[in-house]
Symmetry: C2
Subunit: 170 residues, 2 copies
């Protein structure tokens, strides 16, 4: 099965993100607004069991923290993705490093981890510039307490189901 | 916020349920295939905190179990709902009783708890009979190990986000 790891921000942030995602993100109906920690990966039952033990360790050594979204941004021209950006990415970076290490290091990652909440993707460049122009002028000033992360798996229709929550107890 | 409690069956069961839900269930994109344990309910932060403690207790005193879907059925004429039915509802009934008791008793329940996996709803009676006629002849023989349940909350668009998983440890 395909497993992924993500953080869901507060309901308030999810509601605002969804107001954009419903127009700009074809993944809108597949998963709630999230910050990906670990990209999807095919795991056997044995890999899942090992991963759960490693994730429990990571959760026990990481303290809860607050994130602050302060602007809309884009990965253009690397990727036609519009996202809500963090004023300080370090706490999410530390969570990523606590999780994606040792047995859970990402084999295929070819770019740096850059925590973000996607609100638009799979657009051509003209559409991307239209969306960016419309959101760039909007004010964004939202905080969210992050005290857990979720291990999810994907069903055949592309949607994601929660497998397990890990509470940050560090 | 609106909180609900549900069990997700195995990915195999979800995939089969989704093949029907995408046609017959307007909730298809709001939540993955599930068996509802506790209907949605508005909770304050304090109620949430108390509920989490009660759910941890319930999980610690309930052992994992297996469910077996053996047929399609309907709540007609009480409700125009088509669902995958269990050959034996007792283990789910016991989980319900472990969870929806004491501080988590359901205030508004006016009908008996009847565990089921909805694959169609919000149809008129003609549509319901068409769907029932088409699924009633299909064989259903699927088992799923249930070793956890999930506390979920609803965002403004009607979709559900996982708040916390509780592993059955009894």
């Amino acid at each position: 099965m395909q497993f992924g790891i993500a953080v869901f921000p507060s309901k308030e942030v999810q509601d605002i993100a969804n107001s954009f995602r419903k127009r700009y993100d074809p993944h809108y109906s597949l998963i709630q607004p999230h910050l990906t920690i670990r990209e999807k990966d095919e795991w056997t039952d044995e890999q899942l069991e090992r991963a759960v033990a490693l994730l429990e360790q990571a959760a026990q050594t990481t303290a809860p923290f607050t994130i602050h979204f302060n602007r809309f941004s884009s990965f253009y021209p690397v990727a036609n993705v519009v996202y809500m950006a963090l004023s300080d990415t370090k706490p999410m970076q530390r969570l990523y490093e606590a999780i994606c290490t040792g047995g859970l290091e990402e084999p295929k990652r070819t770019y740096l981890f850059n925590p973000h909440l996607t609100i638009g993707q799979a657009m051509n460049s003209d559409e991307l510039h239209d969306v960016l122009a419309s959101v760039k002028s909007k004010k964004l000033d939202l905080t969210s307490r992050i005290d857990r992360f979720h291990l999810l798996y994907q069903t055949d229709n592309g949607a994601w189901t929660a497998h397990q929550t890990f509470l940050l107890r560090g």
